[in-house]
């Protein structure tokens, strides 16, 4: 272990100890605006499963998500519910409520029995709505809200002659209410910092829970909000520690990386199966899962350096993936750990099927698309879209005997001045991955011509995909990008101008913590900056350019 690393580990230990007691060295931050975010499909489904059990089936189609500034989590703050979308929510709510009160589930999920099945029972209904309403709305129901639910249930019970049907009617209303579908944050005056605002305790609990577990706050967290624990640094740290020690942290981390890596695009991914017959929907599912397993195992289980994700030889394999990676897989079903040997062309996330296949065209690999993705997804840079009048014929003609490799085709294509700048920025990185086809299968030649996978990333030369991964590992923007994305994901918005010192502090701390994700997450959720709400004039969000620096 070298001296720098030793220092880093020691620093991480010291900082980790400090973190548990609050970030005393935290710089001033303006905070940002309050955010209203629509639940994602996964969040909706997870919440229903958490509150009512995994056997409550949710059928229906969710409103499409919006990716903004690189994240769906930010786009979630800029979407609404269309009339057609509301019909879907209504259908899903009715379906779920019907199952919750059916004979199979009612005794376990409602928690009380009416005096008569045919008549209203306000005591039982009130008990039920209070309990589940607190979890669904992420705060106790107001008296007006509770009375409104009871009125609906009573009226429906009288009209339909069945207590449970009436109860389901009220529950349906809660499941399609904006208080449930939208995470609306609430600010309050910060008594410790005169003139400043912060999220109230329930909004804090909500941010914490969705960031770390990707679901609604549990009973203990809401109780901590109710009794004021979350407004003390010690109480906040106690809850943060509890949430981070839970296995459910994996779900939170997976949700973040699923968003950051843009895996929602897999839903629309297709390949020409005459060229890539190994491509199936099962491959798509396994490829995503492989990357998420690799990430969470490295970052949460092994508590590894984030940057090592781009150089690690360790991953997980299924029999299906083994056919594409061309490695034996001993397990007959499910997953097994796999480590590529040191001389293998594959190393790191860039050489996994998920990245390679997602950022290719259906019929061929694309150094340009891959390079653009690398810049935008992993380095948080914005690459302009190509001009509308570009002729792609030369690039797409993979059988042109004059240009037998993608490098040759791109060299001939990118001679126009309008194209040259961007191609010079993104192609060299994409060409480093050219030894993997559109599906992600290794191929050292194209049209029987050896593929030259050398290139340069921001001045650092590489010879192949593995050394490209090393260059990405060593690039300062790689770690900064993660910090930027993680904070934006947690806050639901990009960091504002008034948060520059805070973001710089997170960058520095991340490095001092050995680029450990849990330490970064903990530092964010136990900070004051994370919950600070800015006055409108300082809350301007940088939307035109994202800075990873």
């Amino acid at each position: 272990m070298n001296r720098v690393l030793k220092f880093g580990v020691a620093a991480a230990f010291v900082l980790g100890t400090l973190v548990s007691c609050g970030n005393n060295d935290e710089p001033q931050s303006s905070g940002g605006p309050i955010v209203v975010r629509r639940l994602t499909q996964e969040q909706y489904q997870t919440i229903i499963a958490d509150i009512f059990g995994a056997d409550i089936k949710i059928g229906g189609r969710f409103e499409p998500d919006l990716r903004k500034s690189g994240l769906l989590a930010i786009g979630a703050g800029e979407v609404s519910v269309t009339p057609a979308g509301f019909e879907q929510y209504d259908s899903m709510a009715r379906g779920a409520a019907g199952q919750i009160v059916d004979e199979q589930h009612r005794d376990m999920l409602i928690g009380c029995k009416p005096a008569s099945v045919k008549a209203p029972d306000e005591t039982c209904a009130k008990s039920f709505y209070s309990k589940v309403g607190r979890l669904l709305y992420r705060r106790p129901l107001t008296a007006d809200e509770l009375n409104a639910q009871l009125a609906i249930a009573d009226a429906a019970t009288v009209k339909l002659g069945n207590f449970y049907t009436g109860l389901a009617m009220g529950l349906t209303g809660m499941l399609e209410a904006p208080q449930f579908l939208f995470r609306r944050e609430v600010a309050e005056a910060d008594p410790d910092n005169a003139g400043q605002q912060r999220l109230n305790a329930f909004s804090k609990a909500t941010r914490l829970s969705f960031f770390l577990w990707n679901t609604t706050p549990d009973d203990e967290l809401l109780t901590a909000a109710e009794n004021g624990d979350l407004n003390s640094s010690r109480g906040l740290a106690r809850q943060a520690d509890r949430l981070m020690a839970s296995p459910r942290l994996t779900a939170g981390a997976r949700a973040f990386f699923n968003d950051m890596m843009g895996f929602d695009a897999f839903a629309d991914l297709s390949k020409d199966t005459t060229i890539y017959p190994k491509f199936t929907n099962a491959v798509i599912a396994d490829a995503q899962e492989q990357t998420l397993r690799t990430i969470t195992d490295h970052l949460l289980v092994a508590k590894g350096d984030y940057r090592d994700l781009f150089t690690t030889r360790k991953t997980f394999m299924t029999p299906l993936l083994g056919t594409i990676y061309r490695v034996p897989v001993e397990t007959h079903e499910g997953w097994e750990a796999h480590e590529f040997p040191a001389d293998d062309p594959r190393a790191g996330l860039l050489t996994q099927i998920s990245f390679l296949s997602l950022h290719s065209t259906p019929g061929r690999s694309s150094p340009t698309i891959r390079g653009k993705a690398l810049r935008e997804v992993l380095l948080c840079e914005k690459v302009p879209d190509p001009p509308g009048n570009v002729n792609f014929n030369l690039v797409q003609d993979t059988k042109n005997p004059q240009y037998r490799t993608a490098r040759a085709r791109l060299s001939a294509h990118a001679i126009q001045a309008t194209c040259k700048g961007c191609h010079r920025l993104i192609d060299p990185m994409g060409l480093g991955l050219e030894q993997f086809d559109s599906l992600g299968e290794y191929r050292p030649t194209e049209n029987e011509t050896p593929i030259d996978a050398s290139g340069e990333l921001d001045g650092v030369k590489f010879t192949d995909a593995a050394s490209l991964g090393r260059a990405l590992h060593d690039n300062p923007a790689t770690a900064s990008c993660l910090v930027n994305r993680l904070y934006a994901y947690a806050a639901g918005r990009a960091a504002g101008k008034g948060e520059a010192d805070w973001m710089k502090y997170l960058d520095t701390s991340f490095a001092a913590d050995g680029y450990r994700l849990p330490a970064l997450m903990h530092r964010i959720v136990t900070s004051e900056a994370f919950y600070r709400i800015a006055a409108p004039e300082t809350a301007a969000v940088s939307s035109t350019k994202e800075s990873a620096q």
Partner: protein
């Protein structure tokens, strides 16, 4: 071993050839999943000058059984009825089922192959069709292989090669054979694996070890409906279906020593395969696949019953008669003569094989239990 296979597969895909092993003494191993394993039927325009076999003349059979014209018409109008099947199959002189008891019926004269070319091996060492047979064989005509090698023995093809169901454009994919293979692949009915060990050179290796195994995992199809390449396949733990034999590789062609091959058969047609005096020749393809032929002797009666096991369906679908097949196989059998009667009990048979790269994994308890297959001496009777 798994790692060696991994390196090998990548190299094969890169160069289209077998990969070189870094360790010359141990050599590399290469695994394959078999995608075609069916009788080698060489189809040509002039190999059946007497025409192809046909189903029995059902009307004549019914008339000979004393059925009235009305009864005959009723039977012909209901070819899928039990009455039709019984009337056809139970046509022996005393009502015998002629598929179960073919010797009860006279030989209807199966039309057999007259052509000169066939896939296969020279199993008995003779290169001509002279009247003096090799020791422990019966006199028979020889074929020449498509590449001009004389002395080829494939009497199974000679006996059955003029049946439409077994003939095809490619020379070996008659529709019945294709149907069987497609079902085997699509339904995962049977997996055969080949493993070649000791490869130190892409093309020439004096000593290699060839393993032919029953697999325990079904084949997996890709998006095109073809067998998926590069899957991991486990060898069955049942050592009865492990066959390991010495061989050599010259100019990319692997040829084994003589051995006895035993494999669990497909559930559709052949319950078990038992090839005596078998040999295997496999050629490495530019894309890393292997193609070749397995040749050896198979028991005549087993072959007969396997062939006609569907009874009426065989006679109607395959356009042949059970007694015709029986007498042809008996007449053309060329190996392992019965010491008492002198009649040969086994018939030279060749199967075409195609296989694609796969990772062949031996399961715990498998290694060490496989002994090198031995060849049953010619003339030895079980």
């Amino acid at each position: 071993m798994a790692r060696l296979n991994s390196i090998f597969c990548s190299a094969a895909a890169m160069a289209g050839l077998l990969a070189l092993g870094a360790n010359a003494s141990a050599g590399e191993a290469k695994g394959f999943a078999v995608t075609w394993f069916q009788p080698a039927m060489y189809t040509a325009d002039d190999d059946c000058p007497d025409g192809l076999n046909k189903s029995p003349d059902f009307k004549a059979i019914f008339a000979a059984e004393g059925k009235t014209p009305e009864q005959i018409k009723d039977l012909i109008d209901h070819p899928n009825s039990k009455e039709f099947a019984d009337a056809v199959i139970n046509r022996g002189p005393h009502g015998e089922n002629v598929c179960a008891d073919p010797a009860s019926a006279p030989d209807p004269g199966q039309k057999t192959v007259q052509g000169k070319i066939a896939f296969g091996f020279n199993l008995d060492g003779k290169t001509d069709s002279g009247s003096t047979p090799a020791p422990n064989t019966c006199a028979h005509a020889k074929f020449t292989s498509p590449d001009g090698t004389p002395g080829i023995d494939n009497q199974h093809y000679r006996a059955l090669g003029c049946m439409i169901a077994l003939r095809g454009k490619r020379g070996h994919d008659g529709f019945v054979l294709s149907y069987i293979m497609e079902r085997m692949k699509a339904e995962g009915l049977r997996t055969y694996l080949i493993e070649i060990k000791g490869i130190n050179d892409p093309k020439d290796n004096k000593d290699v070890e060839v393993g032919v195994y029953l697999g325990s995992d079904p084949l997996v199809l890709d998006a095109k409906g073809e067998v998926r390449r590069d899957t991991t396949q486990r060898v069955s733990k049942d050592v009865r279906w492990h066959n390991v034999v010495h061989g050599s590789m010259k100019d990319g062609v692997i040829t084994t020593d003589v051995f006895d091959l035993n494999l669990l058969g497909d559930p559709i047609w052949v319950p078990e395969f038992h090839f005596k005096q078998a040999r295997l020749q496999l050629t490495v393809q530019p894309n890393g696949d292997i193609k070749g032929t397995l040749g050896g002797y198979q028991d005549v009666m087993t072959m007969y019953y396997n062939t006609v096991k569907s009874g009426i369906l065989f006679e109607t679908t395959n356009a042949a008669s059970c007694p015709g097949v029986y007498y042809a196989l008996k007449r053309l059998a060329d190996g392992y003569p019965d010491p008492k009667t002198g009649e040969c009990t086994q018939i030279s048979t060749d199967f075409n094989i195609e296989a694609i790269p796969a990772f062949v994994l031996h399961q715990p308890g498998d290694t060490g239990k496989t002994k090198t297959a031995q060849a049953t001496p010619a003339g030895h009777q079980d």
